[in-house]
Amino acid sequence: MHESQLRLLMFLQDLLFLQKEMQDFQVVEKYEEMGFPLDRKEKIEEAIREVTEQLDRDLYHRFQQLAKKYDRPMAPVKKGVCYGCFVAAPTGSKLITQHKDIIEFCNHCGRILYRTD
C-alpha cells in the first residue's frame, strides 16, 4: 500500500522521538529498572533510514530545516488551531475541511500540520 508522505513524516517523527529517548541515559536507565531490556537500541537508526528513503527529498529537507528550528517540527491542528504556535490555521485548509493526508504548513510558524481526530 502506498503511504502518504504525511504519514511517513509522522512515523519518522515518532522514530526520532524514540531515538532521542534511547540516547537519554536517565530514561534508558528508568526503562531498564522497570524490567525492559534495551539490548538492540541501534536498530532505531535502521528504522529511521528505511522511512527517510521513502520521503520526498524536498519535503525531507524542509522537515530537517524545521527540526533545527523547533523541538517539534510537526504540530497537531485542533479546532483549527496550530498547536505549535497556537495561531489559527487559514480557513481554506484542506487538512481541516477534508481531513486529507496532505502536507500543509502552518502559515504562522511553518510547522508541518497533522490531525489526530
Binding site: 515518532d14 522514530l15 524514540l18 534511547m22 522497570m34 525492559f36 534495551l38 528504522a47
Partner: protein, 150 residues
C-alpha cells in the same frame, strides 16, 4: 494518576483470541478505538519498539508501549490470552497478560513513564498471575487494580 482510573469496559479484553505476537498487538490496538490509519501507524511503531528489546518482561507479562503522534492523550489497554503467546519474553515463557500503553510525544501531565512504572510494579505483585487467571468479568479486573493500590 491511578491505574484503575485509566481502564474501563472498552479497553479491557479478558478473552483475547490472538495467536501470535503481531495479532496480539493488533487486537490490543483495537481496544484503543482509533481510526484505521492511526491503527496502522501505531502497529508499525510498536513493532519498531519491540525490535529494540522485547517488552515481554517475564512471568507471563508483556507491556508493549510507545509514544506516537497518532494519539493526543495517554491511552491504555489490557488483555488476557489463556493459552499463552510467544512474545520473546526475557524468561522465554509464553505471555498471557498484556498491557498496552501509548502516549503522545509531549504530554502536559507527563503520565507516560509513571504509568508504565506502575504497570510494571503491578506485574511484580507476588500472586498476581493467579488472581488474573481467576477473573471472569472486566469489573473484577478493575477491582483487582483498586485492591492492589494501583
Amino acid at each position: 494518576m491511578e491505574l484503575k482510573e485509566l481502564f474501563n469496559a472498552s479497553n479491557v479484553n479478558l478473552d483475547l483470541e490472538a495467536q501470535g505476537k503481531d495479532e496480539v498487538l493488533l487486537e490490543l490496538i483495537n481496544l484503543l478505538h482509533l481510526d484505521e490509519k492511526a491503527k496502522e501507524m501505531l502497529f508499525k511503531m510498536l513493532k519498531k519498539r519491540e525490535n529494540l528489546g522485547s517488552t515481554g518482561i517475564g512471568k507471563g507479562f508483556a507491556i508493549p508501549h510507545c509514544r506516537s503522534l497518532v494519539v493526543d492523550k495517554l491511552n491504555v489497554a489490557f488483555a488476557r490470552q489463556r493459552q499463552g503467546i510467544d512474545f520473546n519474553s526475557i524468561d522465554d515463557k509464553p505471555a498471557h497478560y498484556f498491557f498496552l500503553i501509548v502516549a503522545p510525544p509531549v504530554e502536559i501531565s507527563n503520565y507516560y513513564l509513571p504509568v508504565l512504572g506502575k504497570v510494571a510494579q503491578f506485574c511484580k505483585i507476588s500472586d498476581i498471575t493467579s488472581r488474573l487467571d481467576k477473573l471472569t468479568k472486566v469489573e473484577d479486573f478493575l477491582k483487582l487494580l483498586a485492591d492492589s493500590g494501583s
